[in-house]
C-alpha cells in the first residue's frame, strides 16, 4: 500500500463523503446553531445554500464547511424582517436548485432585550416580526413549492419559551409559540402531500443567547442540535426537544395549573 493510499484510508473526515442527497436551504445561517446544523447536514451528504443578512459572515461559514466537509456550499443574502423580498428570494433559490431542494431549515430568530420589550413596543414588534412574521412569510412561499413537489422536509427552530408564557420573556415566547402553531398547522396541511414538517424546540444551548445568563455547564453544545435535527429528519419526526430531556421539563411546566403558575418566578 502506498503512503497516499494509507492517508486516504486512515480517516473519513475531510476528504470522503456520501454522494449528495440534494440541497438544504438554511435560513439565518450565521448563528452558532445554524453553523452546527449546516455541518451536520453536510456530513449527512447534503449540499447547502446558506442564507443570511451579512455576506461576509455567510462566506466565512460557507468556506469553513467546504474545507471541513468537502461539501458544495453556496450563499444567498436574506433578510427575515424584509418580508416583501421573500417571494423573490424563494424564486431565486428555486431557480438555482429547483427540484434538488430537499428541505429548508428556518433557524433565524431574535431574543432581543426582554426587559426593554415590556415597555418599548417597537422593540417588541421587532422580536415578533423576526421570529413569527418573518418565519411564517418565508415558509408560506416555500410551502407551496414543497406541496407541488410532493416530497421534502421543512424544519422550524422554535423554542421551549413558546410552550408557556412567562414574565421573563413572553414577547419572544409568544412569537415562538405562534411559530410552533404555524408549523403544526403546516404539518397537518402537508402531511398528505408527503412533506415532513419538523418543529424543533431547543432548551438551553451554549450560544450568545445564553452566554452569561445560564451557567455554561447547563447549556448543551450547539452540535447536539445539528445531530438531533439530522436524526429527526431521517426518522420523519414531528416535534423534537433538544436536548431530549426538555420534553419532560416542559411537560411538567405545561401541567402546572395557571393559578399556581402565575405565582411562580420561572
Amino acid at each position: 500500500m502506498t503512503g497516499q493510499a494509507k492517508l486516504r484510508s486512515s480517516s473519513d473526515r475531510g476528504t470522503q463523503r456520501a454522494p449528495s442527497s440534494g440541497t438544504v436551504l438554511i435560513l439565518g445561517a450565521t448563528s452558532q446553531i445554524a453553523r452546527a446544523i449546516a455541518l451536520s447536514f453536510a456530513n449527512a451528504g447534503y449540499d447547502l445554500v446558506l442564507a443570511g443578512r451579512t455576506p461576509d459572515e455567510l462566506e466565512r461559514v460557507a468556506a469553513d464547511i467546504r474545507i471541513r466537509r468537502a461539501a458544495d456550499v453556496r450563499t444567498e443574502t436574506f433578510d427575515a424582517s424584509d418580508t416583501e423580498s421573500h417571494q423573490e428570494f424563494v424564486a431565486r433559490v428555486l431557480a438555482d436548485c429547483g427540484h434538488a431542494l430537499a428541505g429548508v431549515i428556518v433557524v433565524f430568530g431574535l431574543l432581543g432585550d426582554s426587559e426593554r420589550a415590556r415597555s418599548d413596543f417597537s422593540h417588541a414588534e421587532e422580536i415578533i416580526r423576526i421570529n413569527y412574521v418573518g418565519a411564517s412569510s418565508v415558509l408560506t412561499h416555500l410551502a407551496s413549492h414543497f406541496e407541488q413537489a410532493g416530497h421534502g422536509f421543512i424544519v422550524g427552530v422554535s423554542s421551549v419559551a413558546g410552550d408557556r408564557g412567562r414574565a421573563s420573556n413572553y414577547i419572544y415566547g409568544s412569537a415562538k409559540g405562534g411559530l410552533s402553531l404555524f408549523l403544526q398547522g403546516l404539518r397537518n396541511r402537508l402531511h398528505s402531500r408527503g412533506v415532513q414538517v419538523l418543529t424543533v424546540k431547543p432548551g438551553f444551548i451554549d450560544t450568545r443567547m445564553t452566554f452569561g445568563e445560564v451557567p455554561t455547564r447547563l447549556a448543551a453544545d450547539p452540535e447536539v442540535v445539528g445531530k438531533a435535527i439530522v436524526k429527526a429528519v431521517k426518522k420523519r419526526k414531528d416535534v423534537i426537544y433538544v436536548p431530549w430531556f426538555w420534553r419532560y421539563i416542559m411537560w411538567v411546566i405545561r401541567l402546572l395549573p395557571e393559578f399556581v403558575f402565575k405565582r411562580t418566578n420561572l
Binding site: G3, L7, S11, R13, T15, T54, E57, R60, A63, D64
Partner: protein, 445 residues
C-alpha cells in the same frame, strides 16, 4: 459576564468581564467599552497571560472558521480560534501537518502566534511565527490591519510573540507541511545522566526533525543527575510505513480527580523512576501516531488538576549553549534539593531564534521546562534563584509559562524589550490591550 479565570497552572486567578464573540463584527465591542481587553484562546498558557482582571477577556474559541486552503502550496488561511488539533483532524487525511506542533493540541492559532510557540522541531524549523505568511489584527483603535513582512512590518514583528498586547489577531495564513504517512518513526534512547543526554543531542539531533527528552529532576542519585529518555523521530515515508512495526500502547494514566496529597516527594520520585525504567535502553523505528507522539498528556483531560487547588508553576527557560551545560546542572541540583520537586520535566535543544520578533522566546541553546507544585513560599524563592542562573548565563524565561517573574528580570532577559515597548506605545498609547501578565511585568508603558 464576570467570572474567575486562570491559566493552565491554575495560579494566579483573576476575575474578569468575559466576552465570547460568535461573529467577526462582535469582536469590536469589547474594544469599544471602557477598560482594557485581552484575547484568550483555550487558556493553555500557564500563568496570567490569557486574562485581564482590570477589563475584559475576549474568548476567541467561536471564531474558528477555516477560510481557504491551497493544496499546491500548503497555505491555510483561517480564523485565530482554529486549533492545532483541528488542523491535525482535517489536514492529516489530506496529507498535511502544522509546521510547528506544541505539546498539547488544545492551542489556538491566535495563541500560537501571540506566544510564538515552538515544538519538537525547533532545532530544524524555528518557531511558529516563521511559518506565518500574514495575519489580520484588530488594533486598539478598532481598525482591522493587515500585517505581513511587507505591510505594517512593525506591527507584524511586535505581534509575533507579543502576548496579544498589540491587538486581537482575527485571522492568519500559515504554511502547512506535506507528509506521506500519518505517523512518525520514533527512536528512543535512554541517557544515564545529563552529560550523556547532551552528548546524544549533539551527536545525532540533526538527523531528526522532531526531538525532545523527558528528564528526571528528582531521582537518579548523585551520579545520575538529569537522567533522561530521548524521544526523537521523523515523519514516516510511505515505504517505511509498510515495513515498520506499530508502537505498543504505552503510558501511565493518572486519575483526574486525584487529591493533591498524592503528589509528594515520594510519589514524584517513584513516578519518575518508573518512567525511566519502562523505556528500553534503546529502541529504533517505532511507528507512532502524531497525537500519541506529540500529545502524551492530552489523553488525561484535566491533568493540571492533579496539583490540587493551589495549582503549579511550569518553569521554562532557555540557556545559551556556552556554559549551558553548567547552568543546567545548577538548575537540576536546585530543583532536586527543593520541596516536593519537579513532577514532569522536559529538555530540548533550540535552533536559531526568531530575529523578526523582539519578544520571541526561543534562542540557540538548551531549554528546560519543569512542573513545580505551588507549595509554600520556598517555591517562589527557588524560582527566583533559577531566574538568577538564567540571567547570569544570558538566557530567558518563557512568558507563556510565566506566573511570577519580575519586571526587572524580564528586562534583563529580553534585550529587545525596549524596541517592543516603543512599538506598543505607538500603536496602543492608551493601553487598550492589557493582561494581568502585562501589568505584572510592566509591559504597559
Amino acid at each position: 459576564m464576570r467570572t474567575p479565570l486562570s491559566g493552565w497552572g491554575r495560579y494566579p486567578v483573576g476575575i474578569s468581564e468575559v466576552h465570547r464573540p460568535e461573529r467577526l463584527g462582535e469582536l469590536k465591542v469589547p474594544l469599544q467599552s471602557s477598560g482594557s481587553a485581552i484575547a484568550r484562546g483555550l487558556g493553555r498558557s500557564y500563568g496570567d497571560a490569557s486574562f485581564n482582571s482590570s477589563g475584559c477577556t475576549v474568548l476567541t474559541e467561536r471564531l474558528n472558521r477555516f477560510l481557504d486552503f491551497d493544496p499546491s502550496t500548503g497555505a491555510l488561511e483561517c480564523e485565530a480560534g482554529v486549533t492545532i488539533g483541528e488542523i491535525l483532524e482535517y489536514f492529516i487525511p489530506r496529507g498535511f501537518v502544522p509546521p510547528v506542533i506544541p505539546g498539547t493540541k488544545f492551542v489556538t492559532l491566535g495563541g500560537a502566534l501571540a506566544c510564538d510557540i515552538h515544538g519538537k522541531n525547533h532545532h530544524k524549523d524555528g518557531s511558529f511565527g516563521r511559518h506565518v505568511i500574514d495575519f489580520s489584527l484588530l488594533t486598539a483603535d478598532g481598525e482591522l490591519v493587515h500585517c505581513s513582512r511587507d505591510e505594517n512590518v512593525e506591527l507584524f514583528r511586535a505581534t509575533v510573540g507579543g502576548m496579544g498586547l498589540t491587538g486581537i489577531i482575527t485571522q492568519l495564513r500559515l504554511r502547512l507541511i506535506p507528509i506521506e504517512d500519518p505517523r512518525v518513526v520514533v527512536d528512543y534512547d535512554r541517557a544515564k545522566d545529563l552529560d550523556r543526554a547532551l552528548e546524544l543531542f549533539h551527536e545525532s539531533d540533526e538527523r531528526y526533525k522532531y526531538s525532545v527528552a523527558w528528564i528526571d529532576c528528582v531521582g537518579g542519585g548523585r551520579r545520575g543527575l538529569g537522567r533522561s529518555v530521548l524521544m526523537r523521530g521523523n515523519p514516516a515515508t510511505g515505504s517505511e510505513a509498510a515495513v515498520l512495526r506499530p508502537e505498543k500502547r504505552r503510558g501511565i494514566s493518572v486519575p483526574s480527580t486525584a487529591p493533591s496529597f498524592l503528589l509528594n516527594r515520594g510519589s514524584i520520585r517513584a513516578f519518575n523512576g518508573l518512567y525511566y525504567r519502562k523505556h528500553p535502553r534503546q529502541a529504533r523505528g517505532v511507528l507512532s501516531g502524531y497525537e500519541s507522539f506529540f500529545f502524551p498528556l492530552d489523553g488525561i483531560r484535566n491533568w493540571n488538576r492533579l496539583y490540587g487547588r493551589s495549582g503549579f508553576f511550569q518553569y521554562q527557560a532557555v540557556l545559551p549553549y556556552d556554559d549551558g551545560r553548567d547552568g543546567l546542572v545548577k538548575m537540576l541540583e536546585l530543583l532536586r534539593k527543593s520541596g516536593p520537586g519537579a513532577f514532569l520535566a522536559v529538555l530540548k535543544r533550540f535552533g536559531s531564534g526568531n530575529p523578526e520578533a523582539p519578544l520571541s522566546f526561543p534562542m540557540p541553546g538548551y531549554t528546560l521546562a519543569a512542573d513545580v507544585p505551588r507549595r509554600g513560599s520556598a517555591v517562589l524563592d527557588l524560582l527566583s534563584r533559577l531566574d538568577e542562573i538564567v540571567i547570569d548565563l544570558g538566557g530567558r524565561v518563557y512568558l507563556a509559562k510565566d506566573a511570577r517573574t519580575s519586571p526587572g528580570a524580564v528586562r534583563a532577559m529580553y534585550p529587545h524589550l525596549e524596541s517592543w515597548l516603543e512599538i506598543k506605545s505607538r500603536f496602543d498609547p492608551a493601553n487598550r490591550l492589557g493582561s494581568d501578565l502585562a501589568r505584572r511585568l510592566e509591559l504597559l508603558p
